[in-house]
């Protein structure tokens, strides 16, 4: 919170400085003015330079970009009130669908819906990988992998998810690097398990003070199975011997049973 306050005051200073020159155009770029010494940089800023920079720094998909800006604006207007709201929401635990979606988007996923029996999402391995961010962890995943993340809220076991914070895509022939995110790439996953991790013992002790505290903790985890990676062209699989075999075997079976 201290950081935020500091940034806020900086932003205020900067806007005060800038508002002497061109208030309406620059107000939307508040987050970008958090340079260490705004007094030096602010005077020689021109609106055109700003716009090019903001365009060049492709932070994320347009949606989350907007939300970030909104947040900043809100904060600069009344920081204290927003804090209170957050605390109330944490206590109440009542989320509307929009809030759920927003929180999920902040973590980096989107719930699509339950997996149906008819869905054929589990495919054979493709030589493609992606680096995807969930919360504050990054995973290098490819098709068929399973990853353990911190417990994801608002999703049930057997839900399909779309992980949209893709940082990098790669295949044997090419690599696509996001700056820092590839907006039109997506990784599809299925929730397999909500489980507790093994117990961790927290042991506190002070020497010569007759003080010992033992506490157990079990972290909640979510197991995801990656089903698909989209946004990169997939090379043809050379070793398709196995599926062929299965395809040959199946008709044989049908013939004998019939």
């Amino acid at each position: 919170m201290a950081h935020r306050r500091c940034l806020q005051s900086l932003v205020r200073h900067a806007t005060a400085l800038i508002s002497l020159k061109k208030p309406p155009t620059l107000s939307t770029f508040e987050p970008l003015t958090s340079t260490p010494n705004p007094a030096v940089t602010a005077p020689n800023l021109e609106p055109t330079w700003f716009t090019t920079w903001s365009h060049f720094r492709h932070f994320s998909s347009s949606k989350s970009d907007d939300s970030e800006n909104e947040e900043e604006v809100e904060e600069s207007s009344d920081g204290e009130a927003e804090e209170d709201d957050e605390a109330a929401a944490d206590l109440g635990r009542d989320y509307s669908p929009e809030e759920k979606e927003a929180e999920a988007a902040a973590i980096g996923y989107k719930v699509v819906g339950p997996l149906q029996r008819s869905d054929r999402v589990f495919k054979d391995y493709e030589p493609v990988f992606a680096v995807v961010q969930i919360g504050s962890h990054q995973f290098k995943v490819s098709n068929g992998d399973s990853i353990f993340t911190e417990r994801l809220k608002f999703c049930e076991v057997n839900d399909k998810l779309i992980l949209n914070k893709v940082l990098l895509l790669g295949s044997p022939t090419q690599t696509v690097i996001g700056r820092p995110i590839l907006p039109d790439a997506a990784v599809h996953a299925v929730v397999e398990e909500h489980a507790l991790d093994a117990k961790v013992i927290i042991f506190k002790k002070k020497r010569r003070k007759n003080y010992r505290r033992t506490k157990g903790h079990r972290q909640e985890l979510t197991k995801l199975r990656i089903t698909d990676i989209q946004g990169i062209e997939k090379p043809e699989i050379k070793t398709d011997g196995k599926p062929l075999k299965a395809a040959i075997k199946e008709p044989e079976k049908v013939a004998t049973t019939a």
Partner: protein
């Protein structure tokens, strides 16, 4: 391929071979792990109709259990009366593991939470995870070594 030995080995050789083939195909489609297949097969809710520690579970069976059953049609829920014992939930998994949770003196919500946890689990043994990323194909573009020159 996963080799599965059919139970009916006493049948003539040709037919048993056919059964083996069909079985392998089905198993490779569901791939053993969850992949859309619920792992909890059976849930036993054991309670006492007299004891004070079963007060919560008796309320649970009246209020929450019917909806829980309805929401999980894949699951076989059995209630069991054991007098003079503390109540517990017992889950039987597809991998032949079983897990028992004691629910004595718990409230309805807590018992529902434990039941849902049993349902959401895969039934594997609880071990400290070596890695949070499990893959069969660790590298797509080739493992880096000190000899690699770009």
């Amino acid at each position: 391929m996963i080799r599965v030995r059919p139970a009916s080995l006493h049948k003539p050789f040709s037919s048993s071979f056919n059964i083996a083939v069909s079985f392998t195909v089905r198993v490779s489609a569901s791939k053993m792990a969850l992949r859309g297949v619920w792992q909890l097969k059976k849930l036993i809710v054991s309670y006492c109709d007299w004891g004070g520690s079963s007060r919560g579970i008796r309320a649970f069976m009246e209020t929450e259990l019917p909806t829980f059953k309805e929401k999980n049609p894949q699951l076989e829920v059995v209630t069991e009366l054991i007098r003079g014992q503390h109540p517990h939930l017992k889950g039987f998994y597809k991998n032949k593991n079983e897990r028992v949770v004691c629910v004595k003196n718990l409230t309805t919500e807590d018992i529902l939470l434990h039941a849902t946890r049993l349902r959401n689990a895969l039934g594997r043994k609880v071990v400290k995870l070596k890695t949070r990323h499990v893959t069969k194909h660790p590298s797509v573009q080739g493992t880096w070594t000190t000899d690699v020159k770009f």
